[in-house]
Structure formats: structure tokens, C-alpha cells
């Protein structure tokens, strides 16, 4: 191999990956940035430049940034989700009867298509639907309400659906991490007289800290960009409109691709900032179990 060959050979191997990355990630993002400075409607041959107008509008018009508040429901729900996932991951990583069956059951919702999940829960939340029937059956009939129609609980219902769907994902992440902790560590701990709680507190949690931290990053960016569940179940009506649903409507219902691109850029920046702040607060430390 000559010196020249050695120089360009790595690029040759990188080419397919780079080509895909550039074509499907950086070029579209570049286009989006470009659109966000125009008042393009997504169809016209000419794109009228709009300067910073779109960004000014996103930040000054209350209707655009207020929808971020809805993310709060999903953010709160993600704590519930992580707690449930962690609980089951710990229990099922020890010897339990029907262990694999339960693993399957917990992971199953994540395999379902998001649209299907939306429809299933639409029927669940209907007046006189599954949820009302179950509540009535166990003597809590007086607590039934319009799960989606009542503005006080609509977002909680939707966030609950989101928990149901994504717990499986957090669960497998935690389970995998817990199982990578060597078994001798538990044995040693047991000999030293550590109970299950102490094992959890001092072995499991430090051992999977990285995955927990990753889960929180996913939870934050996920709750900022919630789309399919409210879009399918309520179409964003009744105060359940999230930022992405709003951006979708702006782009495709009102044909303001420029403004919607600006919203997408703002969302991207917000997610980047939040992730950066979080990494500063929770530094990524090496895990030491020995």
C-alpha cells in the first residue's frame, strides 16, 4: 500500500456511512434551517425571505410557547415510568417464578405501533369503556369521568398512555444493565449480611447509574417532543396540544412551512440546552464496583 492509498482508503470505507448521514440528516436539517428564514408554504416555486420574523413570532406569540407547558405532564409521568421500570427490572433480575413471561409482558407494549396504542386507549377511555367498566367492577364506579373530555384529567390520561407504552423500553435498558453486574458481587454482599434493599441501594443503583442518567435524558427530550399519542387520541384538542402537534398544524394545516421550521429549530435548541445542563449537573462518572 502506497502512502497515497493509505490516505484515501479510510475515506472510501467511510463513504457509504457518511453519504447516508449527510443525505438523510445534515442536508434536511440544513434545509430546515433555510426554510425557517422564509415564509415558504411548502409548495410555491419561490421562497420569500422572512428574516427573523418566524423566530420573533415563536417567542412573542403566547400560543406557540404555551404549548411547552403541556410537556410538564409527560415529564412528571416519566418519573413514574422510570420508577416502575426500575422496580420490575430489579425484581425480575433475581430468581422469580414466571420470570421470562413477566419480562415479555412488560416489554410487549413497546413493540406495539404507536398508532395502534392510540386507538386501543381511545376505546379504553371512552365513557362506559374498559376503564369505566373495570372501575365499576371493583366498586369505584363513582370515580369514572370523561377521561379525555374533562380538561383536568385529559393530559393525565394521555401521559398515562405514554407511561404504559414506554415503560418496557426503560425496563429492558435497566434489566440489561443490572444483569451485567457480576453475580459474585451479590454473593459477597449476601455473605456480609446485606438485604435486598441494601443490595439495591449500594450495588444496583451505582452499577447502573449511567443507564439511569441516560433514561432521564431520553425522558426530557421525549417529553418535549411528544407527538403521536395526543395527535391520534385527541388531535391536540381540549388543551392537549403539545409543541410538536402545534408545529405539525402550522406546517400542514396552515401551510406555513417556514414558521414550522423555525419551531422545529427552537425545539432542537431547547433539547440541546436541556441535555447540556443535565450533563453539567450529573457528570458522567466511571462506574466502579470493586
Amino acid at each position: 500500500m502506497t502512502l497515497g492509498q493509505r490516505r484515501w482508503m479510510p475515506w472510501l470505507y467511510l463513504l457509504p456511512a457518511l453519504g447516508l448521514l449527510i443525505t438523510f440528516t445534515y442536508v434536511p436539517v440544513g434545509n430546515m434551517l433555510l426554510y425557517s428564514f422564509t415564509s415558504w408554504d411548502g409548495l410555491d416555486v419561490t421562497m420569500e425571505p422572512a428574516g427573523l420574523d418566524n423566530y420573533v413570532r415563536v417567542f412573542t406569540d403566547e400560543r406557540y410557547w404555551r404549548v411547552f407547558l403541556v410537556s410538564g405532564y409527560y415529564f412528571a409521568a416519566s418519573f413514574v415510568q422510570i420508577a416502575i421500570a426500575l422496580y420490575f427490572a430489579v425484581i425480575l433480575s433475581f430468581e422469580t417464578r414466571f420470570r421470562n413471561l413477566f419480562k415479555g409482558i412488560l416489554f410487549f407494549p413497546y413493540l406495539l405501533n404507536g398508532v395502534a396504542v392510540g386507538f386501543v386507549f381511545l376505546y379504553l377511555f371512552q365513557p362506559g369503556g374498559t376503564l369505566d367498566t373495570v372501575l365499576g367492577g371493583i366498586g369505584l364506579g363513582e370515580h369514572t369521568r370523561f377521561w379525555l373530555g374533562d380538561p383536568d384529567v385529559a393530559n393525565i390520561s394521555l401521559a398515562g398512555t405514554s407511561v404504559w407504552r414506554f415503560t418496557g423500553l426503560s425496563f429492558v435498558l435497566f434489566l440489561g444493565a443490572i444483569q451485567s453486574i457480576p453475580g459474585e458481587v451479590y454473593e459477597a454482599a449476601e455473605i456480609d449480611g446485606a438485604g435486598r434493599w441494601h443490595q439495591f441501594r449500594h450495588i444496583i443503583v451505582p452499577g447502573i447509574r449511567r443507564i439511569i442518567s441516560l433514561s432521564f435524558i431520553l425522558a426530557i427530550s421525549g417529553s418535549l417532543s411528544v407527538f403521536e399519542i395526543p395527535f391520534i387520541m385527541t388531535g391536540g384538542a381540549n388543551g392537549t396540544r403539545t409543541f410538536v402537534v402545534q408545529a405539525y398544524e402550522t406546517a400542514f394545516q396552515f401551510r406555513q412551512i417556514g414558521l414550522a421550521s423555525a419551531m422545529a429549530v427552537v425545539l432542537l435548541i431547547v433539547v440541546l440546552i436541556v441535555t447540556w445542563v443535565q450533563r453539567r449537573l450529573v457528570p458522567d462518572e466511571e462506574v466502579q464496583l470493586t
Binding site: 416555486v45 370523561f146 385527541t234 384538542a237 396552515f254
Partner: protein, 435 residues
């Protein structure tokens, strides 16, 4: 260094490919060329996925018999609006297609061939100006519909009302009587599916003014008392506020609502006359009498008379990129006038010399005057622009869902505060657009 340059070149090529791909389909409008033989293959895009393998090929067979050597292929599109809008920018969108509503009137010339001047087309067809720009018509309606209430007259009769109410108050009183004397839900909004809420925008003719579309964008405050939005949206508000609509609007279901109206579980809905055959079929399937389902005008009279807007359904157009425009135009004209499609669908035939369907003759017997509202010419396209920039979707459901939410107490505000907000947002955008 050569390596890096090559790599940059690749990136630039990708950018160029995408940029041209985005705008490749459109070009400046030129003169229409329909000369040439009526022969060869054409592709027709259709939103009627239910008819694409049944009724439509039957029509095509007749056309091919009349014009030997032609072949018509249908391409059914399930999510018509969205998919075809995307297809438009690719340049490949069949020879004949329905004009998606996302195309603004001033963009029609970028994608479709002009079929003639408004005056020429109007002599032969109804709804000539609905997809026209600058005096040129780009689409022929496949059929027309009237607007009003689809009601179950058996239920209304049980409540003691047999003739269409004449004022919004009378209508509300009627709904209240239905609520008290029957088990039916008096009015069904179809809030969850959303699009049925858009029919509240199709009642502009009730004021009896033919120039309503021209004057609408000139008005900065359409939600003021006495104006059209106050009348229509106000009635919707009062219905919901009076608890005369379905208890949980978030779980409505369009397909499910058809048998509900058919069997009398629901007494009324605001829709187009196209819904009549569907509701009657649903009634028959559920074992009820299809004759119970009738069509009533919007409860508002001007000069002692009901007025109902009739308007064209989707407009068929010849695509600008078609390689067989002569056959495409021949098919479009034949399909609209001679195929019998409009009559089969019980819609108003597009050709001016053909008769109204039976259902609409009954409707006329209630004393309603059917009115075509010509599209705006001086203010052409302005209303769309105001809608876009104010984000008040008169033709959609987003702001009306909010209206329903406020009316049922699920969102802050009341009728006056919401109408004031709408007026404010509308007039801000209106002053920008109309300046």
C-alpha cells in the same frame, strides 16, 4: 487535500439534488395545448378508494368504447390531500387528478392546465369559478352538494316539530324539546374527527348575499353580532353550552355516528347533502326506515326565505406535466358530463342542463333557495392568507374545537371573550394581508 474537496463536492451534489427535487415539478404557466389525438394511456388519481376497483373501471370501460385506443388507469390515494400535495412537487402526479385544497388559487397555474375562461366554462358547468385564477378555470367539479342539517325527522316529530325551524332560537328550542321528550342526543358535533366541524363554514349563503365571498375578507371583525360567524359559530356555541350535544365530544366517531343518526340515537348533524345516502344506508343496515333521514336548511331566514349554499366537491384537473393532455381533457369532460357519476352519487350534476337529484328536490320543497356563491375575484386568495397568518382555520376544526371546549366549560372564557379574541386575531392578520 483533494480528498476533502471530493468529499465537499459530494455534499454539494446532495444539496443540489434535494433542492431541485423540491421544486422540480412546478414551472411558469404557459398556454394550454390540448391538440393531438384522443388516444393512448392516461392515469387518473382518485380519492375514492372504495370505488377504484368497482364503479370507476365501469365508467372507464364506457369511455374506452367511445374513444377507441384509449386506456384509463386509476390510482387510488387513501390520504389524498397529504399524499398528493407531496406528489405535486415531484412532477409525477398522473394525467387527471383532483385539485388538493392545499394548493392556493394563485398556484393553480404551476401545476394544472387552464381549461378555459370563466365565462366559457360557466356557460356549460356549475361551480366554474371555485378553482379559477385570473379569469382562467383550472378544475371542473365532479358534483355539487348543498349545505344544511341532516336530521332524523321521526325523532324531531316525537318532540313535536315537523317543519324546519326558522331562527337559531327556534332551532335551540327544538333541540331542547328533543332532549326532553326523546332519548336521542339532540345534536352531534363529531368533534373528535374534526372535519365535520368545518361545515359551520359552509353556511355563508344564509344572509342571501351572492357576493359573500368577496366581502368576507374585507371585514376585519366577522364575529361581531349580526355578522355571519357570529350567527353560525354562535349557534354552535349555544348548542354545546345548552348541553344539547353529545356528553363526551372527545370520543366521537364518524363511522359510528352514521347508524346513530340512522336509528334515531342522534337527532341532527350539520353536514353536506352528500351525507344523506350514507346515513340512509346506515339506517337501512341497522333496520330503521331510511326515509326518516331528511335534509333541513340552516335555521336563518333573510327576507322570509331560507338560503342554502351549494358548492362543488373536489375539482378534476389536467396535470401540467401530463404527456397526453388531449386524452386527459377528453376523459375529464366525459366523466363530468356523461358518465353519470354525479347522479350515481346523488350529487348536483356539474353540467348546468342536468337535473337535480331526488333528495335535493325534497330539500327545495322546504322553500329553500339554493345559491352558488361565486369565489372572490378582487380579493381572490386573501381569505386563505388571512386564515394562514391568523391561524384561525375557518375551513377546518382547530378553532371550533376550542369553541366547543369553552362552551362546555372545559376551557377558560365565554362566548363574548372568545369571539373578541377571534376578532382581534383575525383583524390583525387581515390588516396585514389587505394593506
Amino acid at each position: 487535500m483533494t480528498d476533502r474537496r471530493r468529499f465537499l463536492g459530494f455534499g454539494a451534489a446532495a444539496v443540489l439534488a434535494l433542492a431541485t427535487g423540491c421544486t422540480g415539478g412546478a414551472s411558469e404557466p404557459g398556454p394550454a395545448d390540448f391538440s393531438g389525438q384522443i388516444t393512448g394511456d392516461i392515469t387518473v388519481l382518485t380519492n375514492r378508494t372504495d370505488l377504484a376497483t368497482t364503479a370507476l373501471p365501469e365508467y372507464a370501460k364506457k369511455f374506452q368504447a367511445e374513444y377507441p385506443g384509449t386506456k384509463v388507469t386509476f390510482e387510488p390515494v387513501t390520504n389524498y390531500e397529504g399524499d398528493v400535495t407531496t406528489q405535486l412537487s415531484s412532477g409525477e402526479y398522473g394525467d387527471v387528478l383532483l385539485i388538493p385544497n392545499t394548493v392556493a388559487v394563485d398556484q393553480l397555474g404551476q401545476f394544472f392546465e387552464p381549461l378555459g375562461t370563466i365565462d366559457e366554462i360557466r356557460a356549460e358547468y356549475r361551480f366554474a369559478d371555485e378553482k379559477a385564477y385570473d379569469g382562467k378555470v383550472y378544475g371542473l367539479s365532479l358534483g355539487g352538494v348543498a349545505n344544511g342539517f341532516v336530521v332524523n325527522k321521526r325523532i324531531w316529530a316525537q318532540a313535536g316539530i315537523t317543519a324546519p325551524p326558522k331562527t337559531p332560537d327556534e332551532f335551540l328550542a327544538g333541540l331542547k324539546a328533543v332532549d326532553e321528550k326523546t332519548d336521542a342526543i339532540p345534536f352531534y358535533t363529531n368533534y373528535k374527527d374534526g372535519w365535520p366541524l368545518s361545515f359551520w363554514n359552509s353556511q355563508r349563503a344564509v344572509l342571501g348575499k351572492a357576493d359573500a365571498n368577496e366581502t368576507f375578507p374585507a371585514d376585519p371583525n366577522p364575529w361581531q353580532p349580526g355578522k355571519i360567524q357570529h350567527i353560525t359559530d354562535g349557534l354552535l356555541f349555544d348548542i354545546v353550552h345548552g348541553k344539547l350535544s353529545e356528553p363526551d365530544p372527545l370520543t366521537t366517531n364518524w363511522e359510528g355516528s352514521k347508524p346513530m343518526l340512522g336509528t334515531g340515537k342522534v337527532a341532527s348533524m350539520l353536514l353536506g347533502s352528500w351525507a344523506l345516502p350514507q346515513m340512509r344506508d346506515a339506517a337501512k343496515a341497522a333496520g330503521s326506515d331510511p326515509a326518516d333521514i331528511v335534509f333541513w336548511p340552516f335555521p336563518y331566514q333573510t327576507d322570509g326565505k331560507f338560503h342554502a349554499r351549494i358548492e362543488g366537491d373536489y375539482k378534476g384537473a389536467v396535470s401540467k406535466t401530463s404527456r397526453n393532455k388531449a386524452t386527459a381533457k377528453a376523459w375529464l369532460e366525459w366523466f363530468v358530463t356523461e358518465s353519470g357519476f354525479a347522479a350515481d352519487q346523488q350529487s348536483i350534476p356539474p353540467a348546468v342542463d342536468q337535473e337535480l337529484p331526488a333528495a335535493l328536490k325534497d330539500f327545495q320543497a322546504t322553500g329553500v333557495e339554493l345559491m352558488e356563491l361565486p369565489a372572490a375575484t378582487t380579493n381572490s386568495g386573501k381569505e386563505d392568507q388571512i386564515m394562514k397568518s391568523s391561524e384561525i382555520d375557518l375551513t377546518g376544526n382547530i378553532y371550533r374545537q376550542k369553541l366547543v371546549d369553552i362552551a362546555r366549560g372545559a376551557a377558560d372564557g365565554d362566548k363574548d371573550s372568545y369571539f373578541a379574541e377571534l376578532n382581534k386575531r383575525w383583524s390583525e392578520a387581515q390588516s396585514q394581508v389587505m394593506k
